[in-house]
Every structure is written in C-alpha cells, then in structure tokens.
Symmetry: C3
C-alpha cells in the first residue's frame, strides 16, 4: 500500500477529531464516526438503552452541552469549553452553589503532575465531578462557587461503526480501536485515524482475507459487538486492537491469549526487527478490548499494538496526551508496522524446493556472486540459500525468516525470485 | 493452621532433643522418638538386626555410655559428655593407652575450622575414633594417653517412628526427616521438631490427602521403610524431605526426580515469591532420603526442602551447627512455607467461568473500582480478572497463579470470592 | 586410539601438502591424494568433464604450470612460484602486455590487510587475474607490464578420494574434508591431514559403525559424491565436515540441519566440557560441504567441526593462513575431540539398573567412601550415583552425562565398573 505522506494524513485526522467530547454513548461518538465516515463508507449501528449484551446492559445515553465552575463574580474558573477532560465523563447533571471546601470532594486533580488535567469517568455509578490542574485548584481562594453540569443521562442508544473490506475468503482480519475517549490524542484519536486511513487504502485492493474495522466504545462497545456478531467472530482468524499508536515510545505488542497465533508470530517477528525499543509481552487480562476478544468463551487471536504501553507514560490519561504528544512520523511508523503485518498474514505460505538434493547451481542463473573466496560471503544470496534449504513443504516463509533471523520481506522477495526461476513451487503443487 | 508462636514452639523442641547422641540405631533414636511422641501419637517400629531390606541388611545396634581421652594425670582432654560429636559415630568399643603420635591416627579435626569439632561416622566399616577441635589437639603435649570408648555394637534393632493423619483420600503426602544425626541442631533437630509441630497442628483438621510423617535414620531407615511399605509408597502423591530448616539462609528446594510433579511446581511457585535468597535446583542423586524415594524403582514425587543447602554453610556437619545457629524466626518461616505448600496441594483445582463470553460486569457486583481512568488500574481486581480469564476448565488455580505471576493465595482468594458470587463453578460441575 | 605424538604427525602431513596448488579439478588434487594415500589405502575416483551431477555439470579441468607479472626489465614482480595464491584460482590462460592502470583491473588485493595475499577464485565464469599484497601493488611504478598465466582449462575430470573402514554394521559415520583449496594451511590442509591420520589409526580397530573418509573438492565434489552414492548416503547415521582444525581459536561446532542428531548432541556435550572458547551454533545454509549433506533432499546428520569459525579470523582466505598459523597442539586437541566424539557414538547405550528400588549398597562392594560426614561428599562416587539413578532403560549414557553435567567419559567409566559388579545390564537384557 502506498505510504507517501501517510503520517501527515493520519495526523490531520487525529487533529480533526481530537476536540470532540466522546463518551461510551452519545453524540460525541456519532460526530466522530461521521468524520471518519468522510474517508470510508462506515456502517453506523445504534443499540438501544436497556438491551442485554451478555452479562451487561446498554446504559443510558449521556450528552453534555456545557459545564463550568464559577466564582462569586461569575468568572468561570473551570470551563468544559476549554477542555473536555474538565468534566468527569458520564457526570450526572448538577447545578449547585457550595463552599470550595465542599466542592473539592467533587474535584479530581493530579498532585504529582500539578499542571495536567486528569481523565476520570464514572460510567456505572451515578456521580458528578470536575477534573482540573492541581495548581489551578490550589490557586482558588476560599469562597462560595457555582458548579454546573448541563448534561443529560437518559434512554437512547449506544453507537458504533464498522467497515468491512471483503476479501477472497470470508475469514476475517479484525482491526479495532476504541472510540469512547474524549480529547486524548494518543489514546485513541491516533488509533481511530490510523485505522481509517488504512481502511481507505486497503479498500481498492484485492486481498486473501476480509478486513473488518471496528470503531466502538471501550468494553461495553466490544461486548455489544461480540454479542451481536457471534457468527462473525467465529470467522476471525487474526486481529489487532490499536491504541496509543502516535507517540515516540515502543513499539510494543501484547500477545493474544492464544500466545502463538499467526498474528502473534507476525508481530513478534516485525518487532524483533523494528527500530526503537520494541517489547513483546504475554497476554494479561487487563488493557483494551483484547480483554473481551480474548475472554475464554471467544479466545480469539487478537493482540494489542501500541507504541508506548498504556499506563507507562506520564501523559497517559491526562491533558498531556494532546496534539503535541503525537507526531506524524510515529503515526507513519505504526502504519508501516501494521501494513507489514498484513503483508505477512496475506503472503505467508509453504513452498517446496523442486531441486532438493544438494544446492541448485545459482551461479549459472545469475543469482550468485561470481568471484569467490572473499570473507564477506554472498550476503545478498543468504536469503535464497535459507529459502531453498527450508522450503521443504513444512516450513512457511515466516518460519524460514525466523529461522534465518532475516526480515520476512527479504525471505519473501528471495522466494519470489526463486519461484520465477522455477526453483520453488507451492507446497501443495 | 494457627501460626502464633510456632517458631518458639519448634525451637523449644529442637533444644529438647539436641543433646541426645543419636545414630542409625540404638537408644538415642528411641529417646528422641519418645520426646517427639509427647506431642503426637507416634508409632515406633523396631526392625531386627540382620533383616534384609532390598540390597541392604539391618546392622547391629550401637549404644554408647561413655568415651574420653585422658592424659597421664587422668584428666579428660576429650570427653563425650561435653559433646556427642567427640566420638566417631558407630565407633567400636576400645580401651587403650598409646602415645599421642599413634593415637592421632584415630583423631579427626578440621584444620581450616580449628575451633570446631567435626562430625564423622563409620557405619559400615568397623573402626573407632575421636573428633575434636584442631586447636585443642595442637595444644596437647606429647605423652601417653588413655583412650576409652564404652560402647556396644551388637544384635538389636533399627528404630523408626511414623505418624499417619488420615484424610478423605488414602492418597498420601509424605513428610520425612532423618533422625540419625547426633547433636547437630539444624541438621536435623530442626526438621524433626518442625514436622512434629506440624503434625500436631494438622491432626485435628479435615484434609483431602492423608499425611504421613516419617522419622527414620538416614539411608538405611528410609530403605527399611520402603522395603516394608511398598504398597503405601504406591499411594504417595506428594512428598517432602526436610533438613536444615532453621538457619538464616535459603530457602531452597531440590526438585524430585520427576521434576514437574505437583509438589515441585508448588514449591517452585512458593520460593519464587519467597523473601531471602530462594533457589530451586534440579534433582541430583545425592543428598538426604529423597535419594531413596527417588530411586528409579520408586521414582516418587518427593523433593527436599531446606534453608541453606547441605554442605553449603561452614557450620555443616560440625559443632558449629548448634542451638545458636538455628533461630525461631527461621523455623517459623520454614513452617509457613510448608503449610503454604499444603494449602496449594489441598486446594489447587480447576474451576470454570460460567460467563466465559466477554468479562462479567464486576462493577455491579461491587467487585471493581467505580472511578475509572486512573493510571494505577484495578490492582486489587487483577487476581479476579486473571482467574475469570483462565478458569476455562483447563487451567488449575496454580496454573493461573503462575501465568499471572501472583501468589497462589491471592488467586485462591479471588476464586473463592468469584465462586461465592456464582461466577465460577468446579470444572467438572 | 593412541594419541602419542599425534599433533606432530598431523602437522608434518599439513606441511607436506601445503605447497601444492589445488583447485576443484586438476593435478593439484591428484598429487594431494597421492600423498595422503601414503598413509591409508585411498580409492581415487575420476569423473569426466561434462558429467551431470544433480543440477550441476562437472567443469573442465584446470592445470597451471606457471604465472607471473614482469616489469619492463623482465623482473617478476609477482610470481606464482612464490605462492600459489598469486593466481586467481581457475584463471584462463593469458599472455599480455599492458599498462599497470589497465592491469590493475585484474589484480586483487586486501587494502585493509596490505601485507597479505588474498585467495580468489572464478570457477564458473571465465576470467583471469592475479592476487598480491596491497603494499606490493602500491610500490609498483607505472609502466607496461607483462602478465602471463600458463594454464590449461580443458576437458578432463574431477578427482576425489575416499577410504572406507568397515565396521560391524554397514551404517556409516562420514568424515569429509575439502581438498580444493591451494596453499591455505588451516583451510584445509589441516582437515585433510587430521582425517588421514585418524583413518590410519582407526583402520586396525574393530568398530560398531563403518567409517567413510571423503576428500573431495568443495561444493562440486560433495555434490558429485552424493549424486553417485545416494544409496550409501541413506546409510549415513553420523557425519562431520572438518575444516580449520589447526588454529588456536574455538573449538566450534555447527549443528546439522536436524539440530538434535546424535552427532549434534555428542559434539555439543564435548564442547560444553572443552577448554578454550567453545561455541555451538545452529545450522545455517552457508559454510562447507555440510551445505550439500544437509540440503533438504538429503537432510543428513552431518555437522561442521572447526576451531576458529570460517570467516571469523583475519588470516582466513589469505596468505596469513600459513604453516605458522597452525600448531601441532591445536591439531592434537582437534584430534582428541573427534576421537572423543567417536567414543560417544560407538559406546552410547541404554543400560538398566538391576536393583532399582533404593540405592544398592555400594560400600560393601568397595565403591563408596567408608568414612562419612565430611563436607566434600563422595565426589568420586557421584558418577556412579547418577548412572544408577538414571539407568532406567530410558536414558542413554549420554543422556545421563548431560543430566549430571559430567563428561561422558566419566559416566561411561562408572557404567563399566557397575556393569562389572553386576549392577547394570543392557536395557534390552
């Protein structure tokens, strides 16, 4: 897939959706999906409040118009219009006047990061609250303050979007990004934007697998999708959850619960050869929606791709996760890793060397250095030698790349040349 | 089991039996078993000299009344009444006068540890000898000395004791400690005392397994027991040999010959989470009576638990292994490790998550933090998430604890809470 | 096998064949085989030019009488008689006069090792060229030079030699060394000389396996032998390719493609206990003739033994690989490793402890220290305890040696003593 300018393209989409106040339900999600839908034909689903999805129930819909804390003079000392994080997500409506000492029980700050606004939610317990910089709170004089949250929490629906790119097979590769976080750039405007751009570039291509892109609220959204798509889920052969794909850390990959699924091997292979400080970790039942895809009743081969791992960077879940924190080059790097994973999943295969007894004479085919004896050895020929030796019908190209310690792309290219010269055939052939 | 004051209790029993001169046969063993028998109803067995036990024969019985080396003036320069180690264990009786130069051929010292008395034995070759501090020997003037060992070596019997706590099943957990060493506190008054106190506390409890406590002389005692109890041995599902459980080192565990028996996994798990400098080593065919239990014709799942490993501390097999060398807190720590192992063996089981599709909603059951978004994550909920995700009927609680990197006790507690809430059932249910 | 003076013997043979100008065909190979044949009854095979061997064709035969570069005054500034490396191996005949600037396109040097002559070949593309020290080239004044290579490249044959030592079984242990390199002492006069001396000492012995020694040109020679001996190849149970066995590095072993063949385990075991800086590496499809033996259509259990690994030492494929670079003591050390490998392959077996229940009483058989209690433990008895415990019919002696971390020779010796005492019998007995 064409990668020219992809970083800037993804970044522009991140910036487009960053200001929206999203939550697990409500108009923020709808507006976000509308903007993603400018780039791909997204199907938007609405699931009514009260619908049972496995052990859960679709909650009421939350929408917010305005919120502020005002001092005696009417000055807004905290204003939702400045930052969507200022309100505890899913706060019930409130309009009160109370002394600061009392109001502080509804205010969340980060004393250790006193200039940042924290991100807090209260989805499943009715509360109201504000979030603000600790230093700003400390600067407030005592007195009576007005606190207002002009929000509604009422029956409505949960919204999610999906796009399916049909391939030659109805076996699927699932990509999923959570759409419920408000103004947090890396977590997860980056994932939403990257997948949208990826889907757009993938759309015109013919592929072996079908590709599904899911943009749903975290936890309840993934649970809702799974509850409504058990049959589809049974066709998922590979999957990746994406979040935090725009910062300078990582890259990192968390294996699926299966641990040795094709996607696990492909991602581990790619990260082994990746620049930066790649880490591959085993599945843990905490994180993003891989928790649901990898619940024991589904146990799908779905891993998590990130740059910095969630919770590992100080900007995580604070106002520090803003448009300065994600960079086009990191978005582009994440994009390339994902497309390389698609390359492996699409192209890995078992081939068979048709001249398995001794080496074929590569030299007379122009595939081997003519002057022998130098210490360097035929470094450019090594990928061919590995491929010929292990193309025995049992080892796939990824097996060979892992055995050789070479990137899959080099083995795949060598295999392609050898196939052209008639030295390899499909293993079943 | 109640652990209050357990260290002091065990230490008191160590002190009680420390002065006795034990050997592989004789009254020292009988007196020791009599004192242990004050705390538990011990069955004492006597096996006559000459009895064939596999490749071995029960030796004659050794008893000693007195022993000394006296100088010209009649002064006792070495006296068995000062320390039981002064006589080579199993020495034949002797009463001679000879020059020091000649007598020295019968005297063992430790030139590198010149203030300590070594422990030496000669069970299977008839000899006599004395052990003493090297500095004390060096201080002796030349001259004629009287050496007397007032001992008997004659037909009698080999003595061992055992206590069986019956459980719901006749499958057994064997605990074994050698009872043949004279005044060596860590090796093995500590093991004898710990197991006696453990047996006493276990006695009133209902257990899944039956628990057998064996106090027998090293090597020949274990061989004798196995020769007389082949059918019982076939019911041993778990076993631990204990020695050196009272010093400040370790803890350490030596795996059974099987290497991956349940007891091996349980002990490795506990030591992984233990304070100190825990070490887990593979089976080697040298050490204590696990040598016999793990001989290829039995190959029982019996490991060795110690604090410092035998031979690894300078006090080993010297008069330095005395009542100052073992401490109540180390005895208590060893006790807690053993009872934790029993907890694992008794309680490990496979459970099944009855809501395996996606996560159950822990929040509405009061099992999950209500305010989301903080970096810390639901650390107290992690044990529940691990248990729910891997309680698939295939993973046992210990499997889950190992996978999660959490102590078994935390997983077992989480499982218990989840079972109460109806989220888990026994895998067979 | 007697090892007295073996290093000096092998070195003398290295020195004898070092000056000969070998190539993949021609009289250099014949003369080399003639000299090796003074020590063992070598069968020499001639395979005509044009013969098809798998994907390859036997090339024309190359012979060289003389070669030089002469300056205006007729002085030979480069002379083949000084060093066989001065001519690019397999150069076509030429006799020209040309300016130095033009001639330099046919001259190979090593700018980074300016005093050494490189080794270069052009087997499968017709070229001519000279090799010389970079400093010597730099010292040449401009001017017209005469370049002459008095060589022939015409139909003839490819030559290889082999020697078969028949054993009790027609299953074979193959030893192979390439015979095509000109004056390079370590690579591979050393391998040729070591195997010749080994074959001579093995010849009078009765062995379980048959031993085949193959001295063939690299690549094309091995391919030729395999093409003509497919049935023999199917009987190869173990094999080693030898090269670079005389320098001070290593030792090193490269596993066969199978990776866990008996020879792989034997060599890894020996190198684990070897002095120096032993390394064991996995198979890679580049190196010496193990490439052909381990091609997927054969997949024979043939590894590569070397001291320094090819390409890893600065003298590799240069005039620095001369008679000063190989030493008798290193040749002797390599020889001992190979004979130790033969010992393992010949003698590894599964035995059965006839008294598997508890330990046999070694003491009454005089096999155990009589005085007990010392810290050292029965270090001399450990090999016996390991062997008795694991001689269960499932573990071979090599298995036991690996489990015990002891050299095979110690376990084999212990097993021999225990067999004499009737405690072990063959597992099938």
């Amino acid at each position: 897939m064409d990668e020219e300018g992809i970083g800037a393209e993804i970044f522009a989409l991140v910036a487009d959706i960053y200001p929206i106040c999203r939550s697990i339900t409500g108009n923020g999600v709808r507006e976000t999906l509308r903007r993603l839908g400018r780039h791909i034909p997204l199907t938007v689903h609405e699931v009514p409040t009260g619908t049972q999805v496995f052990d859960w129930t679709i909650p009421r819909e939350w929408n917010i118009r305005d919120a502020y804390i005002a001092d005696d003079s009417g000055r807004h000392v905290v204003d939702f219009r400045d930052h969507t994080l200022h309100v505890v997500n899913y706060s019930t409506p409130v309009h009160v006047r109370m002394p600061l000492a009392q109001l502080r029980q509804h205010i969340f700050t980060l004393p250790d990061q006193p200039d940042l606004i924290p991100y807090r939610t209260s989805y499943y317990e009715e509360r109201w609250g504000f979030c603000m910089a600790h230093n700003a709170l400390m600067a407030l004089p005592d007195g009576i303050y007005e606190a207002r949250i002009d929000a509604t929490l009422q029956d409505g629906s949960l919204t999610y979007g999906e796009f399916l790119h049909p391939g030659d097979s109805d076996e699927e590769f699932l990509f999923s990004a959570h759409v419920c976080h408000p103004s947090l750039a890396n977590d997860n405007c980056a994932g939403l934007a990257l997948l949208t751009r990826l889907a757009a570039r993938l759309a015109p291509l013919r592929t072996r697998y079908s590709y599904r892109f899911l943009f749903a609220p975290g936890t309840i959204g993934a649970i809702t999708w799974l509850a409504r798509n058990e049959l589809v889920a049974s066709r998922i052969r590979h999957g990746l959850v994406l979040s935090c794909v725009g910062d300078s850390g990582g890259p990192s990959y968390k294996r699926s619960r299966q641990g040795d699924a094709a996607i696990d091997r492909a991602m581990a292979h790619l990260l082994h050869h990746a620049p930066g400080t790649p880490t591959v970790t085993d599945f843990v039942p905490y994180g993003y929606d891989e928790r649901q895809f990898c619940s024991p009743g589904f146990n799908l081969p779905v891993g998590l791709f990130q740059r910095s791992r969630f919770g590992s960077f100080p900007e995580y879940h604070t106002s520090g996760d803003n448009l300065s924190f994600v960079r086009p080059e990191h978005l582009a790097s994440s994009y390339r890793t994902i497309t390389a994973a698609i390359d492996i999943i699409e192209n890995d295969q078992r081939l068979r060397n048709v001249l398995p007894k001794c080496e074929p004479q590569l030299g007379r085919r122009g595939l081997y250095a003519a002057i022998g004896g130098s210490q360097a050895g035929p470094s450019r020929s090594m990928a061919m030698l590995w491929t010929l030796n292990f193309a025995d019908g049992h080892h796939s190209l990824l097996d060979i790349a892992e055995r050789a310690g070479l990137p899959f792309s080099e083995i795949a290219e060598a295999a392609s040349i050898l196939e052209i010269h008639g030295l390899l055939v499909p293993a079943s052939g």
